[in-house]
């Protein structure tokens, strides 16, 4: 059996594949053409969502290909429909990064509300004496609005409510009021979230329905004192509208880990704003998450190649055939 590891991953997963006796080819090129050259002789691909695109052509040409295992959650780099048509499993590791993203979200919120990055820049610049300007606000007693209550959104809502004494209100089109946990108040629609929240955090996937979900109008509905956090996907928040809203004081601040285009342009207008925190799509990136993703993705490949049913299948239709 031969497996392509398409991007650098933690060594633990690669070792699992080798221990199984597979030939492992590590090609770190973001180029479908490179994948195409090898694909004829390959049984599985371990890929990162930000790596090379696993195109329809790659999937069609992969005569022996049984499984594409994603090191991460998002599968937008894989042509899922074609994979299903070809009977190829697409797997992901949905739980591996949950903890890291929850912690990052918590960090972004507390760094925004206490203006830690602005204060750090001022202190290093020798502006210690300007410190009276950096008046923060407390999270305790404030309202947190969570958009999208999947694994991450649920954890963020539950844990921040409990740990920081926040009121939490959530909205998710796939979760009815009766399915909400006790700690999170049910909001029927986003209007309610925009109206009551002091902090709004986005944890839904990027789909046709969520693209541009937060635009000019939505930002306008938020409190002027509100903070917006996006660690989900860049396209969900309209960046031009966000920049305008931040400049005009329609909201107080934002923390952004994901961008519409990645990598973002060097002169992205968000980078000039003081009331913003930007991190380079690293919310998920911890030693533990890398290890769990790498071993999780490898275990999925091993399960499929052994002829068993894998745990986290994105294209369930394949299992049903």
């Amino acid at each position: 059996m031969k497996v392509i590891v398409e991007s650098p991953v933690a060594k633990e997963g690669v070792e699992l594949l080798k221990d199984e006796g597979y030939e492992v080819v590590e090609i770190y090129e973001d180029d479908p053409e490179v994948l195409l050259e090898e694909i004829g002789s390959v049984d599985a691909i371990l890929a990162r969502p930000t790596g090379a695109r696993v195109t329809a052509e790659v999937l069609r040409e992969g005569d022996r290909l049984q499984v594409v295992s994603i090191h991460g959650v998002g599968c937008e780099n894989v042509d899922i429909d074609m994979a299903t048509e070809e009977g190829i499993y697409v797997l992901n590791t949905p739980n591996a990064n949950t903890e890291a993203v929850v912690e990052h979200t918590f960090g972004l919120m507390s760094n925004l509300s206490k203006r830690i990055l602005e204060a750090d820049r001022a202190t290093r610049n020798g502006d210690y004496e300007t410190r009276d300007q950096y008046i923060g606000v407390e999270m305790k007693g404030k309202t947190l609005g969570v958009i999208g209550l999947g694994r991450i959104g649920l954890e963020v809502g539950r844990r921040l409510g409990r740990a920081c004494g926040m009121e939490v209100v959530g909205c998710d089109p796939y979760l009815g009021a009766s399915e909400f946990p006790d700690e999170i108040e049910y909001a029927e629609d986003l209007e309610k979230i925009f109206e009551v929240s002091d902090f709004i955090t986005v944890h839904c996937p990027l789909t046709e329905g969520t693209e541009g979900l937060i635009g000019q109008e939505e930002l306008h509905k938020m409190k002027e004192s509100a903070f917006l956090i996006n660690v989900a996907r860049g396209g969900i928040v309209d960046e031009d509208a966000l920049v305008d809203a931040l400049k005009e004081g329609e909201i107080r601040g934002a923390a952004i880990d994901v961008f519409k285009e990645e990598p973002p342009a060097d002169d992205h207008p968000l980078f000039d704003l003081n009331n913003v925190i930007v991190t380079p799509h690293t919310a998920w990136l911890t030693e533990e998450a890398r290890r769990r993703m790498s071993t999780g993705a490898a275990e999925g490949i091993i399960t499929v190649l052994r002829g068993d049913i894998p745990e986290h299948t994105v294209n369930q239709a394949v299992c049903e055939e």
């Binding site: 990052h104 960090g107 020798g126 410190r131 950096y134 911890t286």
Partner: protein
Amino acid sequence: MIPSYIVEEGVNLLKDAGLEVVTLFDEPKEKVLEQLSDYDAILTRLTKITLYSDTLEGKTDGLKVVGVHGAGVDNIDVDKATELGIAVISTPEANAEAVAEHTIGLIIALTKHIVKTDKVTRAGGYEDRDQFVGVNLEGKKLGIVGPGGIGSRVGTKMAKAFDMEVLTYHPGEPSHTVPSEMTLTNNWEGFIKECDVISLHCPLIPQTEGMVGKEEFRMMKDDAYLINVARGPIIDEKALIEALDQGELAGAALDVYEEEPPADDNPLFEMDNVVVTPHTAWLTKETRIKMAVDSAQGIIDVLNGDQPEYIVNPEVFEG
């Protein structure tokens, strides 16, 4: 007398109680001290003046109460004040929530490289992101030095949020009840060696000055993080800088410095495994109101002959 700015909620409370309020925001320190005898009460911030024995002795005839707008009273010779029958009140609870939340922000800023990656991203370095591998807090050991109001808040929040194991160091019997989420220890060496994140929440007293120095940095885990939002001199700053340089710990976040304001060329400001804030952990809209109101109320209580809630030297009310 109010020598440095406080929010109007506190000033109004004093005025409503029928007190004459004089603000001296622009007066230099010496001028303020010269006039002390003319006042019944002074409501002061730590950064403006110090009231050591040379200031208090023989120069404070009319003074009945010093209200400190803050938690720490290390700018006041409390023993001398007690001897002179001057009540000292502070606002120990007012800033607790803000400081606890700041501490959490600093911890995650370090473990998730938030300050560093923000700088790199703004400079067009998005593609370097794979270098900034963080660590999860889940299941790690958090060490709280000083299980007081702030330390206990940080400990319980981190236990509830991330299931951290929380140890707390106190040399003797703590005056506060230690919350069930925290395990008390008086074994300093074991504490320093074991913890993944160490956060200081003790007052500055002779026993805590330089408490974290060369020895401690040698004993710490190489991947440990240190946070100081308490008082600068609790850490030997020179030893910290050396330890950071030599990788004896992974990083540090500081809100307080040996000298304040710190020198512009403090070597800490050049380090990228460091987060620095300008003694603003306490500074929130909510804290400013609580501090002004609590310290004003304390002054009113003393001048009315009542024992205030947050008295530092209750002895002045005995006998």
